[in-house]
C-alpha cells in the first residue's frame, strides 16, 4: 500500500521536475541563441512567463472537438512516455513504472502525440497546418528509421527490451553503451536533432514560411498546453537517450549535467544553421544516420 503512495507521489514529482527542467532548458536555449547572435536575450525564466500569459488569455477559439483534444493528446503522450522512463537508476521516486518490454512501447508512444496533433491540425482547416502536418509526417518517417534501427540494435545485442535492463547491463559492465555499441549511438545521435525540430529540421513549424505550421490556429490555453508538453517531451527524449547510451544517472545533478550537455548538441547545431527543405532533411536522415543504423544492426547480430 505504501508502495502505491510513493509511486503516485513519485509520478507527480517526476512530472513537475520534467516541466521545470524542460522549461529552463528552453529558456537557456533562447538565451544561448541570443548570445550567439550577439544579443542579450530574454531571461531564462521567459518560457514560464509565456505559458502563464497564454493561460491567462481570456478567449481561445477552436474549430471543433478534435482541435480541442489535440493539445491534450500531446500532453498525455508526453506524460505517459515520461512515466515509463526511469528518470533515475534507483531510488524511491523517480524510477516510475518500468515493466519489461518498454522500449517497444515507448517507440509507439512517442509518435502517438504527433498523430493526435495531425488530426487536430487537420480540423482547423488552415492550409498552413495541412502542409505542416504533411511535412511533419515525412520528417518523422525520415528520422524514425535510423532511430528505431539504433534501438533495435541495442535490443538485439543485449537481448532485452527493457530500459531498466539496459541500465543494469551498463552498471554491471561498467561501460556506457555509447562505448560498447558505438554505431547505434552514432545513428541515434545523428537522428536526434530531427526529433527536437530545431533549426535545420524546423521544417514543420517554419515560422516565416508556414506561419508555424500545425500550430497556426492554436492560441491561448491550447498553445500553452502545447508549450508545456513540448518542454516535458524534450526532457523525456533527453532522459531516454541518457538512460540508453550514457549509463543513466544515479542522482538529479548527474542527470541534469548529462541531459544538458546532450541538449546543447541540437541547440548549437540549430543556432548556426538555416533550414533544410523537406526532401533535404529526408535525404540527410536516410544517408549517414541510416548507414550507421545498418552497421549497428550488423554489429549487433554478428
Amino acid at each position: 500500500m505504501e508502495d502505491i503512495g510513493y509511486k503516485i507521489f513519485g509520478a507527480f514529482l517526476t512530472t513537475v521536475l520534467a516541466f521545470v527542467v524542460g522549461m529552463f532548458y528552453g529558456g537557456f536555449r533562447r538565451k544561448i541563441i541570443a548570445r550567439i547572435q550577439n544579443r542579450v536575450g530574454p531571461p531564462v525564466y521567459q518560457n514560464f512567463l509565456d505559458v502563464m500569459k497564454l493561460l491567462s488569455k481570456k478567449t481561445a477559439v477552436h474549430h471543433g472537438i478534435m482541435q480541442q483534444l489535440a493539445p491534450l493528446w500531446l500532453i498525455t503522450m508526453s506524460i505517459v512516455t515520461l512515466m515509463f522512463i526511469p528518470v533515475l537508476k534507483d531510488g524511491l521516486f523517480f524510477t516510475n513504472l518500468n515493466f519489461s518490454g518498454d522500449i517497444i512501447f515507448l517507440l509507439y508512444m512517442m509518435v502517438f502525440g504527433s498523430l493526435g496533433m495531425a488530426l487536430g491540425a487537420g480540423q482547423t482547416g488552415n492550409p498552413n497546418s495541412a502542409i505542416g502536418v504533411t511535412r511533419g509526417l515525412i520528417q518523422m518517417v525520415g528520422f524514425e528509421i535510423p532511430w528505431i534501427m539504433a534501438l533495435v540494435a541495442l535490443m538485439v545485442q543485449y537481448k532485452t527490451t527493457s530500459v531498466t535492463g539496459l541500465l543494469d547491463i551498463q552498471s554491471q559492465s561498467g561501460t556506457w553503451m555509447m562505448f560498447s555499441s558505438p554505431f547505434a549511438f552514432i545513428a541515434a545521435l545523428l537522428a536526434m536533432p530531427g526529433m527536437f525540430r530545431y533549426s535545420p529540421f524546423d521544417i514543420v513549424g517554419a515560422p516565416a514560411e508556414l506561419a508555424s505550421g500545425p500550430v497556426s490556429e492554436f492560441g491561448g490555453k491550447y498553445l500553452s498546453l502545447m508549450m508545456t508538453s513540448g518542454s516535458i517531451f524534450a526532457f523525456v527524449k533527453l532522459t531516454l537517450i541518457v538512460d540508453l547510451f550514457l549509463g543513466g544517472a544515479s542522482n538529479l545533478i548527474e542527470l541534469v549535467i548529462k541531459t544538458f550537455i546532450l541538449y546543447m548538441y541540437p541547440v548549437l547545431w540549430g543556432a548556426i544553421s538555416p533550414r533544410f527543405r523537406t526532401e533535404q532533411a529526408v535525404k540527410y536522415f536516410w544517408g549517414w544516420p541510416l548507414f550507421f543504423g545498418v552497421i549497428a544492426l550488423a554489429f549487433a547480430t554478428f
Binding site: R30, A34, Q37, N38, R39, V40, G41, P42, P43, Q46, L49, D50, M52, K53, S56, K57, K58, T59, A60, V61, N128, P207, A208, L210, A211, S212, V215, S216, E217, F218, G219, G220, L223
Partner: protein
C-alpha cells in the same frame, strides 16, 4: 476560492505581470514601417530582452503592430486580423500616418485616424519612428498593461457597433463573417 477584492488583486497582478513580460507580436507590415521591425528584433536593438517575440499567426499573437499608412484595402485585412486575435490583445500604431494621416492625409485611399476603426493602445509618433522609439513604445505598453489601463479590446467589445459603423463607411462591400467571441 473566494473572489474577494484582495485575492482578485493578487491574481490580476500576477496575470498582468505575465502579460507584460511576454508580448507576442504580429507585425502587419504596411507602409514604410515594416523596415523598422527587423532592426528592432535583431541584435542591434534586441527587443527579445523585454520578452517581445514574433508570433506567426493572429491566433497566437498579443500585440498587433500597424506600421504605417493603411489603405482602405488593407484596413479590411487589418480588421479581420484584429478580430482573429485572442483577448486580451493590444494594438500599437506607428508613425504619423496612423495618427492623423501624415503625409498621405489627403489621399483618396488611405485612412487618417486608425483609432476610429480599431482601438489603439499606444501610438508612436515619428515618420518613421526609429527602433529606440519603438522600444519605448513597447515599454509604455508594458506600463499600461501593468496598470490595467491597456483595455482597447474591452472597448472594442463594448463599442462594437460604433466601430462597425465607421468600418462599414469605408468598406462598402462587407463580406466578412460576423465577429463573435
Amino acid at each position: 476560492m473566494a473572489y474577494d477584492n484582495n485575492s482578485q488583486k493578487i491574481v490580476d497582478y500576477i496575470q498582468n505581470f505575465a502579460r507584460k513580460h511576454s508580448l507576442f507580436v504580429l507585425a502587419y507590415g504596411t507602409g514604410c514601417g515594416a523596415i523598422e521591425i527587423p532592426p528592432t528584433m535583431t541584435s542591434r536593438y534586441d527587443a527579445e530582452r523585454f520578452g517581445i517575440r514574433g508570433a506567426a499567426t493572429p491566433r497566437q499573437a498579443d500585440v498587433l503592430l500597424i506600421t504605417g499608412y493603411l489603405a482602405t484595402k488593407t484596413l479590411k485585412r487589418v480588421i479581420r486580423t484584429y478580430e482573429q486575435m485572442q483577448d486580451p490583445k493590444y494594438v500599437i500604431a506607428f508613425g504619423s500616418c496612423t495618427i492623423n494621416g501624415g503625409m498621405y492625409w489627403d489621399s483618396y485611399n488611405t485612412i487618417n485616424m486608425l483609432d476610429k476603426y480599431i482601438p489603439v493602445d499606444v501610438y508612436i509618433n515619428g515618420c518613421m519612428p526609429r527602433p529606440e522609439a519603438v522600444i519605448s513604445g513597447f515599454v509604455k505598453l508594458q506600463d499600461e498593461i501593468q496598470a490595467g489601463r491597456a483595455d482597447g479590446w474591452k472597448k472594442y467589445q463594448d463599442n462594437l457597433e460604433e466601430y462597425r459603423a465607421n468600418q462599414k463607411k469605408i468598406i462598402k462591400n462587407w463580406t466578412m463573417p460576423d465577429f463573435n467571441w
